[in-house]
């Protein structure tokens, strides 16, 4: 065994870096490295001229973006686009009451102090019993839910009561008014802080045909501070949704019939299945939207705030459109996922085969290179 055998790879790397030799073998190895480096081998002038005259001296400023970095941009961008498309789809398909389907919104805002509304002229402290609205009161209440059309009514009432005792009894009376008219109290929040005073926040649902009576009776629970009533016509929405449902059902029937054909090519079958899934999802969404429209048109929403204080925080109505939009967006994202899954299923076998062929070719090339260079 020669002395050079004892030079390990780490020491060899150290010698290449220029470290001092420690043994005689290392000295010999360093001498060899020095000889090799002193080979003084320079490119011939002819080659230099040939290469340098062919190479223009211009500088390239633009640096190509590495594929990995490109992927880091493209993938989030694609995801963002998918989410944005879903949101847009959800927004368009959320059944906007005033924009998307040309629904007629008829907001009626009536804000007045109780003294200026003799029609609701129930004096403060007029008793805790459930007040009954008289015929003139009903006539002066905003005309909502009329005309035989599908209309959605929302009302916000702010009523002041003299003290906490009256607040409690008025809260109970409000829920009784709703149930007596065929509705119900969706939520009741009753607060009486130690600092004094108190407030009740009550969300009521009453049948559309009884909303005028309900408003009149609720206003009579105390001193009416403010009142806001809005009415939206849903008839057009309902007609549009019904037409869309009919069209989607026809499409589903046609696609189902086409898929029964055994001679249908596989690629076309996959496309039709995707389209069928999308149509069914749209149909389900439209049915859900129409159910919501009908429910919205047959039930009025009343937000009542009973308070012992003059200043009352206004209660905002719940907006159902956001929920519908998010629901639609999630559905659309699911559809996008389905399409991607289908594409993966279809493309996976050829992609795997191509990867295998590429890997084998690379292996063979490497083996070939090794054979060539070790000969």
């Amino acid at each position: 065994m020669s002395a050079s055998d004892v030079i390990g790879i780490e020491r060899l790397e150290a010698l290449l870096r220029g470290d001092a030799p420690r043994t005689e073998a290392e000295s010999a190895r360093r001498e060899l490295l020095s000889q090799l480096r002193g080979a003084a081998l320079r490119a011939p002038e002819a080659l230099r001229e040939r290469v340098l005259t062919a190479a223009p001296a211009r500088r390239h400023v633009a640096v190509r973006m590495p594929s990995r970095r490109l992927a880091l941009i493209v993938l989030p961008a694609a995801l963002g686009l998918a989410v944005a498309a879903a949101l847009v789809h959800g927004f368009v398909g959320s059944g906007g009451k005033t924009v998307s389907h040309g629904g007629v919104a008829v907001p009626t805002v009536l804000r007045a102090k109780a003294q200026q509304l003799p029609a609701f002229g129930v004096a403060a402290g007029s008793g805790a019993a459930v007040p009954s609205a008289t015929a003139p009161e009903q006539q002066l209440a905003p005309a909502v839910g009329s005309g035989g059309r599908l209309q959605h009514a929302e009302a916000s009432l702010q009523v002041r009561v003299p003290d906490v005792n009256r607040l409690s009894t008025a809260t109970g009376a409000a829920t009784r008014i709703a149930t007596s008219l065929g509705g119900y109290a969706q939520s009741v929040v009753y607060r009486t802080p130690q600092s004094g005073g108190g407030a009740s926040y009550i969300e009521l649902r009453v049948p559309a045909q009884n909303v005028r009576t309900a408003i009149a009776r609720l206003a009579a629970l105390g001193t009416l501070v403010s009142q806001q009533v809005s009415v939206q016509d849903l008839q057009h929405d309902f007609a549009v949704e019904s037409a869309q449902i009919a069209q989607l059902r026809r499409t589903v029937a046609a696609l189902t019939k086409a898929l029964r054909n055994p001679a249908l090519p596989e690629a076309q079958r996959v496309l039709l299945q995707i389209k069928l899934a999308e149509t069914k999802r749209a149909l389900s969404q439209r049915l859900h939207a129409r159910t919501g429209t009908v429910a919205s048109g047959t039930t009025a929403r009343i937000s009542l705030v009973l308070s012992t204080q003059k200043s009352i925080v206004p209660v905002a109505h719940h907006r159902g459109r956001l929920g519908r939009m998010l629901h639609g967006a999630v559905g659309f994202l699911g559809l996008e996922g389905t399409i991607v899954l289908y594409a993966l299923i279809v493309l996976s076998p050829p992609a795997a085969l191509a990867a295998l062929v590429w890997g084998l070719a690379r292996l063979r090339r490497r083996r070939d290179e090794r054979r060539l260079l070790t000969a």
């Binding site: 190479a55 290179e369 000969a375």
Partner: protein, 179 residues
Amino acid sequence: MNAVSTSLDAPAALSVRPGFAEVAAEQLDAVYRYLVFLTGDRSAAEDLAAETFEKAFRTWRRFDPRRGTPRTWLCRIARTVAIDWFRAETRRRRREETYARELAAAVDDAVFGDALSAPLEHALRELSPAEREVVALRVLLELDGPSAARVLGISQTACSTRLSRALRRLEERIGDVRE
């Protein structure tokens, strides 16, 4: 010592992309030296170096200084060009049943360097192209371990092992010649 400037080899040049002419002027000797060691034929190395720079010029747009030095990039191109040459030579040798490379080496006494000793020159000729290649990359061109391994398409450990074995064989051959 290595006469080729290493100003463009350092990763410090990452942010500024040099011009092709500048790179060609700096790296020509290194690429030529690498090809001489790989092929063992100065004439072939000259042609292959020219082909390497032509190819590099065509693909210069794809060179990314953040992913490696110009020298490493050029050596990879040179290696591809040289392997094609080896394939063609093998086919030609099979046809003609002659060893042109050995003939060329016999005619030209100083293939690997004008200042090399005769025993070292002879010992280098006895190494395989793969062994001479790793010696050229690590010793002559002074590429670091990861860069040389990337040019060769092998792991860093395999590269170091191959270099160690090649140097040991060189020492053995030199010893044999002197004896």
